[in-house]
Amino acid sequence: MGLSVPACEIRPAFTDEVEQVFGQRVSECYQCGKCSAGCPVCVDMDFPPHQILRGLQLGMEDVVLNSRSIWLCASCETCSTRCPQEVDLARLMDVLRQMALAKGIKAPERDIPLFHSIFLSSLRRFGRIFELELMGMRNMRSGHFFKDVLLAPGIFLKGKLGLLPPRTRGRRGLRRAFAKIRDMERKTP
């Protein structure tokens, strides 16, 4: 008698969860490693991109969502361009980052999601990026108080750094949109 294992039993729930949002099948990947070969930040990652995909195929939620790799991906799109199976890895990394955030997972690359939240807070309030505040807040909240301060005078003297926040028309509507999006995303995690 042959061994029969129903497909659903060897298919981890996490794989389904990711594929549902991602819209592509992670089983498409046959582990050729081309993504990792061309990745500019592969050497900085704890798991090269093709191993992240392998982890997804095996349903290793903890490993994947707690990895540095998903935060270090620079979205350069080299992997997505070269994948022979047309797996859009760069977008997959976005999906994984969003998922990690939604599940409240603390990123090992703490400064990266912190920067995104400061950036988006500036955008939410002003409609455009107020760079002076962005830099200041980043330094204050990350604890790297003197980061890039040597760059500031040069940019400032060239008249590139505005001292006042942008006053974009319609920024109140934008604030409401941010709140609505948060509600929408809570409903469909």
């Binding site: 976005d94 939240s117 028309r169 929408m184």
Partner: protein, 290 residues
């Protein structure tokens, strides 16, 4: 020929010279640009890395306000350009997403406003023959390394305006039409690490160092760029790269629009060439371009 124009946040601040030179070059070529009113930030990396809906809401809000009579909207910043094109593709395909965008920000947008890059407009729409006719000061003897970065050609089905994603040539063809000499080098589309520039600066410095090394090895006089993030990593951080790696790079990083402007005989100051960290003054003098 008239286009709407979306400068984005960078071109209003740290990449002021990209804004100045795009406007000056387009004026010189006789292509009209009119800034989109009340535009908002595209959200860049921070939106698409953290919220799918937000990453489409922001571009849709701006694009819905673009004049429908314009030939499209010219977007010089590659990050904005790429996000706009991705939103256009996503909204055209997905009615559910269109509904989500509408309910979040109250705009109906079908993803139909053409989003174009100024390089595409100049090379493919305006045409290099027409450019050649306008050149009054050939960039003779200037060795240019064309650096396309990531998103101008990738992913090809969204961004690439028919250029080859692995070996694009549109900027090289333009530089040649302007009379410059182009450098054949393999780092045209390598990533400079822009999205990590503020958080893992060490990585951005390493990647940018590699790009500068390769351009210097090919004796490039300058690197031509089409993206404010590439520009700031290679230019603003060049001194830090020299400190970290013990190098002595002194390579001006210029926007391709500044090269067009120079060849049209526009004064370097009007093109913001005095606003870079690595001042191209000596180079321009040496090549009799200033």
């Amino acid at each position: 020929m008239k286009y709407a124009y979306y400068p984005g946040c960078s071109l209003h601040s740290t990449a002021k010279e990209f804004d100045m030179s795009t406007k000056a070059a387009f004026r010189g070529l006789g292509i009209g640009l009119e800034e989109v009113q009340d535009w908002v930030c595209c959200g860049a990396s921070s939106a698409h890395m953290t919220s799918e809906i937000l990453s489409h809401v922001l571009p849709a809000k701006t694009l819905a306000g673009v004049d429908r009579d314009a030939k499209g909207v010219v977007v010089p910043c590659i990050a904005c350009y790429s996000r706009f094109r991705i939103t256009n593709a996503a909204l055209q395909e997905d009615p559910e997403l269109r509904a989500q965008v509408k309910s979040a920000v109250g705009v109906t947008y079908e993803g139909k406003i053409p989003v174009v890059h100024p390089l595409d407009v100049v090379v493919n729409d305006y045409g290099l023959d027409a450019v050649r006719e306008k050149v009054s000061k050939e960039l003779t003897g200037l060795r240019v390394a064309s650096y396309y970065g990531c998103l101008l050609t990738r992913p090809p089905e969204i961004n690439s305006f028919d250029d080859d994603p692995e070996n694009p040539t549109s900027m090289d063809d333009l530089a040649t039409a302007l009379g410059a000499e182009v450098v054949d080098w393999p780092y045209k589309t390598e990533c400079c690490g822009a999205s990590l520039s503020f958080t893992r600066t060490d990585i951005a410095l390493r990647l940018s160092h590699d790009i500068l090394t390769m351009a210097a090895d090919e004796d490039a006089d300058c690197i031509a760029v089409a993206c404010p993030m590439c520009q700031s990593n290679l230019d603003l951080r060049q001194r830090a790269i020299n400190r970290k790696y013990g190098t002595s790079f002194d390579i001006p990083i210029v926007y391709f629009t500044q090269l067009i402007g120079l060849a049209l005989g526009i004064a370097p100051r009007e093109l913001g060439l005095h606003l870079h960290s690595v001042n191209p003054k000596n180079l321009l003098k040496k090549k009799a371009l200033a």
